[in-house]
Symmetry: C2
Subunit: 226 residues, 2 copies
């Protein structure tokens, strides 16, 4: 029987790298994309292209726009500005409360439904240290919770939460992704969501820095490569 | 400053009892109701009446109908029959994968947004032993996970997950609720969701048995009180 993995796929660089990693580990890929009222729908479109690239059997895109009803952040609340002043130090204003916890709860439920043994998520504790739910101790605790919450755990077939990038810099992620043939030309990272990436938001700057340190050229178009 | 508690409020007997308990403990109540494509919308209507009874400042009703896209159960999938054959033994077919994990993830995110210090949920490990995510060990693990996932936990103001009914029989819950003046006439428990409760589904039978053991009369109308 095929081994299945759910991959939380945003259409960004990190989650798309997880597709390549899970594929190399022999999993049939079941990407799950959350659409939650971002300012732009571009990420979802890119996620669909990534899923098509990997010829997956099924790609679920789930609308969780209700998140706007229980929280708020620069990425979902158009009244706030997108930050361009760096990612270090305090918790970023783009923070959606417990976003990864919500995503992993839903992805684990889906994993149970389809009988997947693993859930992949592209979080990194290195580049996004401001988010509490990107830390290894969160992932470990969440995995334990998932297996207490599901039949899978009770019947002795636990679901593993895999965060392969968690200790990696962006450069290391990109190097590994390039080795695996990850289609970075299909990914998007820009907070602005334009046809070409802005090159100026925190996400673009982190991505450009990563490619530079990896000694590679980012294949997507930019307004300004900095 | 007022102490706030989020109460996961379905409009059923257990969650409504939690409203009474949290109120007695001095909390300003912030009920949160999830509407997830039940066969009936009656629960949501009852939840609104309960919220009005308690004169809450705010009652959020969140549509999470997308759960149908990641799982399936007798309560959300109209192709399956509602069970009437008892609740003991194996995991019931009404099981929504990891439903309480999903609810608590969302409720905790909401708690962080509004600065609530507690989240109340009306799960019981006694009457619903078939559900993995009604067990005390799940709640404890979830609480730990929540506080690793949120700013609240990181900044030293943890969110407490309160499941006051977890070791209580239905009869004990009802006795306590009656002492607190919980408006059971506004609650609904029937899986069928009719104007009068059917009295035959597992949920009705459990409720009727609870009132009987508590030595009280259930104030809601039934088609058949058994």
């Amino acid at each position: 029987m095929e081994k299945k993995a759910v991959v939380v796929l945003s259409g960004g660089l990190d989650s798309t790298t997880c597709m390549g990693i899970a594929q190399e580990r022999g999993y049939a890929l079941y990407p799950l994309t959350f659409h939650y009222g971002q300012r732009h729908d571009r990420e979802v479109e890119q996620a669909k292209k990534v899923a098509a690239h990997y010829k997956v059997k099924e790609h679920r895109v789930v609308d969780i726009g209700f998140l706007n009803q229980i929280g708020g952040s620069a990425l979902t609340d158009t009244a706030l500005d997108v930050p361009t002043e760096g990612t270090e130090g305090e918790i970023p204003v783009t923070y959606v409360p417990a976003r990864n916890m919500i995503f992993l709860s839903l992805a684990s439920a889906y994993a149970e439904t389809i009988g997947a043994e693993a859930v992949y998520i592209g979080v990194s504790a290195v580049d996004y240290s401001g988010y509490p739910d990107c830390r290894p101790e969160f992932i470990r605790s969440m995995e334990q919770t998932v297996n207490l919450a599901t039949k899978a755990g009770v019947t002795g077939q636990p679901i593993r939460l895999e965060a392969p990038l968690i200790h990696w810099t962006k450069a290391r992620t990109i190097k590994e992704g390039l080795r695996l043939g990850v289609p970075y030309h299909l990914t998007t990272s820009c907070y602005q969501g334009g046809e070409a990436a802005c090159g100026e938001c925190d996400s673009c700057r982190l991505r450009l820095k990563g490619f530079k340190e990896a000694g590679a050229e980012d294949p997507i178009p930019y307004v300004n490569r900095g």
